[in-house]
């Protein structure tokens, strides 16, 4: 089982990284979106390997199911030919390279400085299999007030979206 888990972990990681790279480099924007979805799903698979089932399904529902559907729809509605013919990677190439190098240097520096403290604590052998229930418990007991505030915020956002989508003068049908 441990061997299988290791193999799966490396497979999923390679998939995630590979499709992330593909996503950035594809000229065709829809292909990019599909590769982004692959990367998200691979990440979800890693969550599942870690027995974080709830996180796994939330990743699928929210990222792959919800957000990505919106992305794909919007992308497909704009004329894909225009987007593919856009000459990308021209002027910003130098700036982007410089920024990437700086970012990579920062990350490497952080790892180098913190290499002693980066060791993760040994994983607990028995993780509660009921992490959906655990999250529910935490939300409704310990974090009830923030949870409710967030829900009100979401409600406000939803109503706001509805109001903005309605053109002025439209009757509410």
């Amino acid at each position: 089982v441990i061997v299988l888990n290791t193999i799966l972990f490396y497979f999923l990681s390679a998939l995630a990284v590979g499709s992330a790279v593909m996503m950035v480099t594809r000229r065709n924007i829809v292909h990019g979106a599909i590769f982004l979805m692959t990367a998200l799903l691979a990440t979800a698979g890693i969550f599942l390997l870690l027995q974080a089932e709830l996180l796994f399904i939330v990743q699928i529902v929210l990222c792959a199911g919800g957000t990505m559907v919106l992305f794909v729809l919007v992308i497909m509605l704009v004329n894909p030919n225009i987007t593919t013919e856009l000459v990308k990677f021209t002027r910003q190439r130098f700036i982007a390279t410089a920024l990437t190098v700086v970012l990579a240097a920062q990350v490497l520096f952080a790892i180098f400085v913190g290499r002693t403290s980066l060791r993760l604590p040994a994983m607990q052998l028995s993780i509660s299999p009921k992490n959906a229930e655990a999250v529910g418990d935490a939300l409704f007991h310990q974090f009830i007030v923030p949870f409710e505030i967030v829900s009100v915020l979401l409600l406000v956002a939803m109503i706001g979206a509805g109001v903005m989508a309605k053109r002025r003068g439209d009757a509410i049908r």
């Binding site: 065709n28 829809v30 292909h31 599909i34 979805m37 089932e53 709830l54 796994f56 399904i57 699928i60 529902v61 792959a64 199911g65 919800g66 559907v69 794909v72 729809l73 497909m76 509605l77 894909p80 299999p129 009921k130 992490n131 959906a132 229930e133 049908r173």
Partner: protein, 435 residues
């Protein structure tokens, strides 16, 4: 009818060869799905005796067909991948559906969420498949499909949520167990939830109407139209697999899964461990078998005779298994009988879906979608609240569950009727009603 080999016309009349989902796209005439009509033009390159094998021959033909592309500019890779992912997504869902106490691939503790999440990916079958064929019209079709799918998926999830109040768990296994413990299928506690889920499953599996949401005369479903080869077959397979998935969810969540009717009634024959009600399905299947074998002996078209004999034989074996396992160890008995009930319920649900599809005329896409947002989703919310109140009243207030359920159901239905009457959701229905 004389005992001679069937003429062509006769053979065409007999419902001898079940329509094959693989060879026919999702635009199968609804009658075909119910087997009311035989395949209209079966190519006759098989010997009459072998015509039972016609579906297999059709499948081989489909497998060997060349790929067809709609336009030179079509996005071939995406077009190629979309049906594959569709099948994978559809089949993944079976992972968590318990077919009997003994048969469940994996009991994820997020079972129901898993099903909902995975099936929400179905949209990736429709949208990229249509986009990649580089047809403007089919792109619009894809958007319509996506909109309808999203609206009904939302309502379906809300309908399912009402059951979670009762089961207290997302695991499919525990949902069935809760129905056993509470002595009642959940359809009787939250009938409106089941109704909502049923309507939504009609819409999300495209069974509801004679025409799928893509169809106006010019708006086509490219993923169906232009994929007549193996990939098209996969796509249709996914479509039908989705119906089975919906039926499986409804069975597990609302109809008691693998429990038999009256699961809490456990009187046994005196002196044995055989429960009274467990004998009935075996006897019923044995009766069907006897009937088929008897009517198979009457003079009639050969193909019909063969079908009757085969059905009778299969039912005989099934009856033997059902009755024989009564005396087997407890686990074997529960497994076989559970699987039997699960399959029967799934079949009945699917039959209902197809039945409705072919009994009622289709509604236009926009009316369907509007109906979901205007009526179905609010009704699902109301149902959730009233169901919670009913459960609270019976658990804390000590009222009998039957009473609270009836009150809650009537309240929800009343609210839904008010919503339907009060919102101009369906102009045509309104004018028809004189409203």
């Amino acid at each position: 009818m004389a005992d001679h080999s069937p003429t062509k016309a006769e053979a065409a009349e007999q419902p001898d060869h079940a329509p094959d989902p693989l060879q026919s796209g999702s635009e199968v005439p609804a009658q075909d799905e119910l087997g009311q009509r035989g395949s209209p033009q079966a190519p006759e390159f098989l010997h009459p005796r072998l015509r039972v094998l016609q579906p297999v021959a059709d499948d081989v033909k489909v497998l060997l067909k060349k790929d067809g592309w709609s336009a030179a500019s079509a996005d071939r890779v995406t077009f190629w991948i979309a049906p594959l992912s569709a099948v994978i997504i559809a089949l993944l869902t079976y992972l968590v559906l318990p077919v009997g106490p003994a048969f469940q691939t994996s009991d994820l503790n997020i079972g129901l969420l898993f099903i909902l999440g995975i099936s929400s990916l179905t949209i990736y079958r429709i949208v990229p498949g249509n986009w990649s064929s580089e047809h403007r019209d089919s792109l619009i079709g894809a958007l319509r499909s996506a909109a309808q799918f999203l609206s009904y998926e939302t309502a379906a999830a809300l309908g399912l949520a009402s059951v979670l109040l009762l089961s207290g768990s997302l695991s499919t296994k525990e949902i069935v167990q809760a129905q056993l413990d509470q002595g009642q299928w959940f359809i009787f506690y939250v009938p409106v939830g089941f109704l909502i889920f049923f309507i939504c499953s009609l819409a999300t599996t495209n069974r509801a109407r004679v025409s799928p949401p893509e169809t106006n005369s010019e708006i086509v479903a490219a993923h169906v139209m232009e994929n007549r080869n193996f990939h098209g077959a996969l796509d249709s397979l996914a479509e039908y697999a989705n119906i089975i998935v919906a039926a499986g969810i409804a069975t597990t969540v609302f109809l008691g899964g693998w429990l038999r009717p009256l699961a809490s009634y456990r009187d046994r024959f005196p002196g044995t461990s055989v429960e009274l009600l467990d004998v009935l399905p075996g006897l019923a299947v044995a009766a069907i078998s006897a009937y088929c074998l008897r009517s198979g002996r009457r003079p009639q078209a050969k193909i019909r005779k063969a079908v009757m004999n085969w059905t009778g034989g299969i039912c005989g074996v099934l009856a033997a298994a059902l009755l024989g396992t009564l005396f087997a160890p407890e686990n074997a008995m529960a497994g076989v009988h559970g699987a039997f009930w699960f399959v029967v319920k799934v079949g009945a649900y699917m039959y209902f879906c197809l039945w409705i599809r072919f009994a009622f005329p289709g509604l236009q896409f926009d009316r369907w979608t509007r109906r979901s947002w205007r009526i179905l989703i609010p009704a699902a919310f109301i149902n959730l609240i009233t169901a919670a109140m009913a459960i609270l009243a019976s658990q804390d207030g000590g009222l009998p569950m039957r009473f609270t359920t009836i009150v809650a159901t009537v309240a929800t239905l009343g609210a839904a009727a008010w919503l339907a009457k009060d919102s101009p959701a369906d102009p045509v229905a309104q004018t028809a009603d004189g409203g």
